[in-house]
Each structure stands twice: as structure tokens, then as C-alpha cells.
């Protein structure tokens, strides 16, 4: 269980402080007073009895993580997740800020819907920034009132889950959002090439007799979106990059435009389609888990900075939605609680990425994509802090899940690195 405390003063002692904004690392103390950063120094002494002192020796103290791609299912499918349960799952993963996708029922496609999500999120323990729909009813026919939605708190626009097929409409969306300097996030997939694919197209899909979704279904759309964004000088963010071709394209276009960004999901870094042999429906995701080679290229992409950040695409589904055949199961897996243990294991422990660099991909970089403040350790700033043990080995289990759903293929997997404490919105949480 997560224990919550709200002391007036907290002193985090002797942690390895890594500030991804100033790029400073040192062993030291952080004092939080009334929910804001009061002091960060090598040593802060306090004899005050009211100060809660936490020994962080051997732990890393850094910015609260930010996940720019989650599905909290409210309104409409509160049986899978709601804003509150999603927030707790985020906290458990070390996230203090998340951006929620608008493909709910009804979809978040008006200023009033944005206002509703923000209002319902106010009292929750983390910050929720709603992403608004690009088109009314996610039908790719009429643009949403993006200007009014931004005034009410929308942070970006996406018809996630429904790839925008009409290139003219995509161009108009990029152009319109340019006026308010917010990114468009398109689930890049040609639905005709995807056809009825349920897993990656390749030798494995051939062997299993499952319909394949080819790399091209993603990469042709990634190319289209990049070309449109470049020519219109508009902001584009590419979600859940899954193919090696997409990484190449993003590399090429990033050299021409500063307004392009992308993300990769932990499961695409961890699994490859060899893992689907047991027909585990929790591995059925969109875009699909790709081949070994794609996985390798994604790891290279995030290490080299071609891909900006890590985002979980946390997608809760009920048991009924997953306890069925691979063909009938819903697409998606949850990912908040397991995220750090997964990416730390794959990237830092197995592939030689520095811990500092990994932290950037979970903190400063995703916030930059969304124009969220990145200088979290400035004195006087509202404290958002995540404390983790980078070396703890643990087995991910159902008990570690706080989401209403438990559709995770990581259950039973040995992970490395575990979040221990989170400070968010004036509260201190021990995990």
C-alpha cells in the first residue's frame, strides 16, 4: 500500500541528487517546506522535531517523472480506470505529471470536456494535463475548438487510437494548432496496410497463423506526418514509435525541423515478437510488438536522442477484454507501475545507457514536448520529486498494480530499479 503524509517540512537526507535540468549530480539534501523546494545543498541540518527526515542513502533523488501518453478511460469506461485510480498507478510508478488521451466515451473534443477533466483532477495527487481530440467525435471531419480548449487546459491534440487517414485533414490540424503553438500527436498507422493485423507481420505471425501488421503501416504514415509538419513548419509529436524505419525517418526529419519529437513505450523496448509464441493477449498492443531488429533500433534511437522520451501508453482493459483469443482481445497494456523497473533494466543495465540520460527521457524531455516547466528543483518551485533505488531487483506482481486493471505482461518478470518515495502536490508518499 502507498502511505501518505503531509508534514509541513520534509528533509530528504544523503540521496544522490540528479537534477536533469541543471545537469548537476551530487550527494546531498533537499528540504521541502509547505510543498515547495526550500533548499538543496550538500548538507542541510535540522533539529526541528516537526521536520520529517527521510534517509535516502543509496537512493537517487530526482524530478518527478512525466508520462505524456496514458489512457485513464474517464468518462465512459470507469470500470477499466478512472482519473483517481490512474493517478495512484502513476504515483506508484514515480510519475507526478501525466497527459491523458482523449479517446474516452464521449471523447474529449470540446472546451467543456477539457474543463470537466481538469475540474475532476484538481484534488488528485498528481497533475493531469488533458490532451484534446483533433476532430469532433474523432471522425477526422471537423476540427475541434482547439483555441478554446487550450484556454481551458488542453496541452496537445490527438485522435489517438484512431489514426488520421485523410492527409488534407491532418495538414489542416497541424496548421490550426500552429496558431496556439501546441503539438498534434497522430497515431501513425495506415489502416489499409494494417488491415486486420493483430501482431507484427513476419515469420512469427506466419508461424502462429495470426494476421500480420507490417512495419510499413507505421512508417508510411510517419513519413507523411513528418513531411506535412516540415512543410507547414508545425509542431508534430510521434507517439509509440515501433519500427526501425520510423526511427530512420525521424532522424532525417529532425535534422530539418526543430518542431518534431517522438516517444517510445517501455514494452517496445523490452519485448519482441518472439515473445508472442504463447499467445499472451497482454502482449497484444497497437502498434504491435515488433521484431528483434526493430527493438534493437528503438534502443539505439532512445540512447542517441533521436527519440526524445519514454511514454507508457498505459492502456487498462478488463479481464473480460483480455481473457479471450488473441484475435478477439483488445489492444493495449497497462504500464505505469512497471515503467521504471523495465526501462532501467533494458536501457541502463543491459544496454549501457547512463542513468542520467534515462532520467532525462522520463523528466525534462517529455515536459519539453508538452511545454511544461522543466526546472523543477528551482527554489520556491512546487516540489515534484521521485526517489528510487536504481539497483533493487524485484519481481513485478499483481500486488504492485494500483490500476483498476491488471493487463500487464510484466507480471512475473524480474525488473531492476524501484521507486521508493514520491513527493507530489504537497504530499509525501512511501511505496
Amino acid at each position: 500500500m502507498i502511505a501518505k503524509k503531509q508534514p509541513k517540512k520534509i528533509l530528504l537526507k544523503n540521496g544522490r541528487i540528479i537534477d536533469p535540468f541543471s545537469k548537476k549530480t551530487f550527494i546531498g539534501d533537499i528540504l521541502i517546506e509547505n510543498g515547495t523546494i526550500a533548499s538543496i545543498r550538500k548538507t542541510i541540518s535540522s533539529r526541528d522535531k516537526d521536520t520529517l527526515k527521510i534517509d535516502c542513502k543509496g537512493l537517487v533523488v530526482t524530478h518527478g517523472f512525466c508520462d505524456i501518453h496514458v489512457h485513464f478511460r474517464e468518462p465512459g469506461r470507469e470500470d477499466k480506470e478512472n482519473l483517481e485510480s490512474g493517478s495512484i498507478a502513476a504515483l506508484a510508478g514515480g510519475f507526478t505529471q501525466v497527459c491523458t488521451m482523449p479517446n474516452t466515451n464521449p471523447s474529449i473534443d470540446s472546451a467543456e470536456h477539457i474543463y470537466y477533466i481538469c475540474g475532476k483532477s484538481n484534488h488528485l495527487p498528481i497533475d493531469i494535463f488533458p490532451i484534446g481530440a483533433v476532430s469532433k467525435g474523432q471522425k477526422s471531419e471537423e476540427l475541434t475548438e482547439m483555441i478554446l480548449m487550450k484556454e481551458n487546459g488542453a496541452i496537445a491534440f490527438s485522435d489517438d487510437g484512431i489514426p488520421i487517414q485523410n492527409a488534407q485533414f491532418m495538414a489542416l490540424a497541424l496548421q490550426y494548432a500552429k496558431m496556439i503553438d501546441l503539438p498534434i500527436i497522430n497515431h501513425a498507422e495506415d489502416i489499409y496496410l494494417r488491415n486486420k493485423g493483430v501482431m507484427n507481420a513476419g515469420p512469427n505471425s506466419d508461424n502462429l497463423g495470426l494476421k500480420g501488421n507490417p512495419n510499413l503501416a507505421e512508417s508510411v504514415m510517419v513519413y507523411r506526418d513528418l513531411a506535412l509538419a516540415l512543410s507547414l513548419n508545425a509542431r508534430l509529436h510521434i507517439p509509440h514509435v515501433s519500427t526501425k524505419e520510423s526511427v530512420e525517418l525521424i532522424k532525417l526529419f529532425k535534422s530539418k525541423s526543430k518542431l518534431i519529437s517522438s516517444e517510445v513505450s517501455p514494452h517496445h523496448l523490452y519485448f519482441c515478437d518472439d515473445d508472442i509464441v504463447g499467445f499472451d493477449t497482454n502482449l497484444k498492443v497497437s502498434p504491435p510488438i515488433r521484431s528483434k531488429n526493430d527493438r534493437k533500433k528503438l534502443i539505439d534511437g532512445i540512447k542517441s536522442g533521436i527519440i526524445d522520451c519514454i511514454a507508457t501508453d498505459h492502456a487498462p482493459h478488463t479481464i473480460e477484454d483480455k481473457e479471450t483469443t488473441f484475435n478477439d482481445a483488445e489492444f493495449g497494456m497497462i504500464g505505469l507501475e512497471s515503467c521504471f523497473g523495465v526501462v532501467n533494466k533494458v536501457l541502463v543495465k543491459e544496454n549501457g545507457m547512463s542513468l542520467k540520460s534515462l532520467i532525462e527521457k522520463l523528466t525534462v524531455n517529455p515536459r519539453k514536448v508538452m511545454n511544461i516547466n522543466t526546472d523543477l528543483f528551482a527554489i520556491g518551485e512546487k516540489a515534484q520529486i521521485t526517489v528510487f533505488n536504481p539497483n533493487e531487483k524485484w519481481t513485478f506482481s499483481e500486488d504492485d498494480i494500483y490500476s483498476k486493471s491488471s493487463n500487464s505482461p510484466f507480471i512475473g518478470h524480474k525488473l531492476v530499479g524501484r521507486v521508493k518515495y514520491v513527493f507530489s502536490k504537497n504530499s509525501f508518499f512511501s511505496l
Binding site: E142, L148, L172, Y176
Partner: protein, 310 residues
């Protein structure tokens, strides 16, 4: 010939001297329109045909009046109820009309380039009364007459144009004409309704309507066509009104008076509030009267005899 030009197709390539002459002469016709007789038979014996292949209220009536006040004989042609509906081509239609011996033609058509095409088919003068999203030179000239009447000059005036620049022939003709006469122009509208390379026209662009209003001496508000919404170019009337509309609040908080123009027909409550359209600073009805004077000036200078001195 009193002008270098034989036709008035658009202002992009129209000589400055002709443009100035038309504007200045318009004021003489305005005096005539204000005088008791309101008529001067400078085009007596000339035959004009008004060819409206597309709907029009203001422009059509304005030309008809201008022709009558000048004593010309005019005939009207509209696409509805004509052989155009039977599939007759533009070329055949106009050559049939011309064979009835006419001196000039006024054409409104939904296709860009229709007016220019017409000059190949007939010998008389052609006046463009709007060709698709291309040009509407007589509207721009009447706007310039109105501005000159109000400010005494065009040079160095700061003019804002707000709305659907992409599809507006009024905007295009005004940009070409006003630039020629030395005005500064800023256009403002949703990014989806601005041409991609609008700055290549030598004008500035902003999405911030308050910025334009604070800067300009006069603003030309364009009609927003509601069908643009369904083409995915603007999300709603509400957002357009809030973001680009000349609202009472917006205009009222300005620290100076600005002149407000609109070519009509207006969508009151969308691109312009009624209180603003009917306010003292609005010269929208002056534009209409100046339209008759400007068109008299254009017809006289293109078709009149030099000996018939004004």
C-alpha cells in the same frame, strides 16, 4: 482612350496611373450622385452587357445603377434560366452576345481567370466583377475611394484585413491595389484560411486580432463563409467569433478610433457584432454609395469618349 488599359481584369498588373485616375474621378461622380439630377449622359449610345454567372446583390445593382446614371444601354444576363444550363460553353455564350454588337461586358464568374478569358472572345472592354477567389477589382477600388475620402490619402495608411484571406477575391485585389498606392497591410485570420506563402505578397501576417486593431487606421472585415466549417477549416462560429470577430468588447477597449469596413454581405454576430457594424466608425454603407461612383468612373474612363469632358 483615357486610360492606358482597355480592360479592368485585376489590380495585380493594373497601372498605378490608371488606378489613381479612377479613384480621383470617382469623387467627381460622387458629387454628381449627390446633386439633384444624379445623372450624366456620358455613355449615351454605348451598350453594355452584365453577365452574372454567379449570385450577386450589391455588385449587380451597383453596376446597373452606374450604367443608368451614365445613360448607357444595358442588358442583363444571368446564368440561371440561360443556355448555360443547357451546357453552352462560356465562349459560345459570350460570342453570341457580342455578335449583337456591344461595347463592353461586366462579368462575374465562379472560376478564376474567367474575366481574362473573356477578353480573348470579344472586342469590347471587359470589367471583372469577381472571378472566383482571384480578384474583385471594382470592390477594391471602391474600398480605396472610401479610404481616400476618409483619410485624404492612401499612402502610408495602416490597413488590417481580417478573415478568410485564402478564398477572398476582395482581399487579393485590396492587397494588390493598396500595396501599389503605398499602404501598409497586415492580414489576420485562422492559419487554415491564410495562403501558405502569404508573406511573399509583401505583407505581414498575425493570428492576433487585437494586435491588428491596435496597429491599424482602418480594418477591412471579410465575410466568413460558414461552409468552411464543414470543410474542416474552422471548428465553430463560437471560436471564430471569440478569436477573430470584431466584438463590441474588443473594439471598445481600443485606445483610438479605427475605421471599419466590410464588403458585405455580413454575418452579424460572427465576424462582426451588430453594435460595431452599426457604429459611427463603420463606413460600410458609405462603401456601397462609393461603389456606384467608382463604377461610373471605371465605365466612363474605359468606354467614354475623350471629347465628352466630365
Amino acid at each position: 482612350m483615357m486610360l492606358k488599359s482597355k480592360h479592368l481584369i485585376g489590380l495585380e498588373d493594373f497601372p498605378i496611373s490608371d488606378l489613381n485616375k479612377i479613384i480621383d474621378t470617382s469623387f467627381k461622380f460622387k458629387q454628381i450622385l449627390d446633386s439633384p439630377g444624379r445623372k450624366i449622359n456620358l455613355l449615351k449610345g454605348k451598350t453594355l452587357v452584365n453577365m452574372f454567372f454567379e449570385n450577386s446583390t450589391r455588385t449587380k445593382i451597383s453596376f446597373a445603377l452606374a450604367e443608368k446614371r451614365l445613360g448607357a444601354d444595358s442588358i442583363n444576363f444571368s446564368a440561371t434560366g440561360s443556355s448555360v444550363k443547357k451546357g453552352e460553353t462560356l465562349k459560345d455564350t459570350v460570342q453570341n452576345i457580342e455578335s449583337m454588337q456591344i461595347d463592353g461586358a461586366i462579368i462575374r464568374h465562379s472560376h478564376p481567370g474567367a474575366a481574362l478569358k473573356l477578353t480573348e472572345y470579344i472586342d469590347g472592354s471587359v470589367i471583372n466583377a469577381g472571378d472566383g477567389s482571384h480578384e474583385h477589382p471594382t470592390q477594391a477600388i471602391l474600398d480605396m475611394v472610401t479610404l481616400k475620402e476618409k483619410f485624404g490619402k492612401i499612402k502610408n495608411l495602416k490597413i488590417g484585413i481580417i478573415g478568410d484571406i485564402l478564398n477572398s477575391r476582395v482581399a487579393r485585389s485590396n492587397i494588390f491595389g493598396l500595396k501599389k498606392l503605398g499602404a501598409e497591410i497586415v492580414v489576420c485570420g485562422p492559419s487554415t484560411l491564410l495562403p501558405n506563402d502569404v508573406t511573399k505578397l509583401g505583407i505581414n501576417v498575425t493570428y492576433n486580432v487585437d494586435e491588428v486593431l491596435n496597429w491599424c487606421d482602418a480594418v477591412i472585415v471579410l465575410r466568413i463563409q460558414l461552409e468552411r466549417m464543414h470543410l474542416g477549416r474552422i471548428p465553430s462560429k463560437r471560436e471564430y467569433h471569440r478569436t477573430f470577430g470584431l466584438t463590441y468588447e474588443r473594439v471598445n477597449k481600443l485606445k483610438k478610433d479605427i475605421t471599419i469596413m466590410h464588403p458585405g454581405p455580413m454575418n452579424r454576430g460572427i465576424e462582426i457584432d451588430s453594435t460595431i457594424a452599426d457604429s459611427e466608425n463603420a463606413v460600410i454603407l458609405d462603401q456601397v454609395l462609393n461603389g456606384v461612383a467608382a463604377r461610373m468612373s471605371i465605365l466612363y474612363l474605359l468606354l467614354g469618349d475623350k471629347s465628352e469632358k466630365l
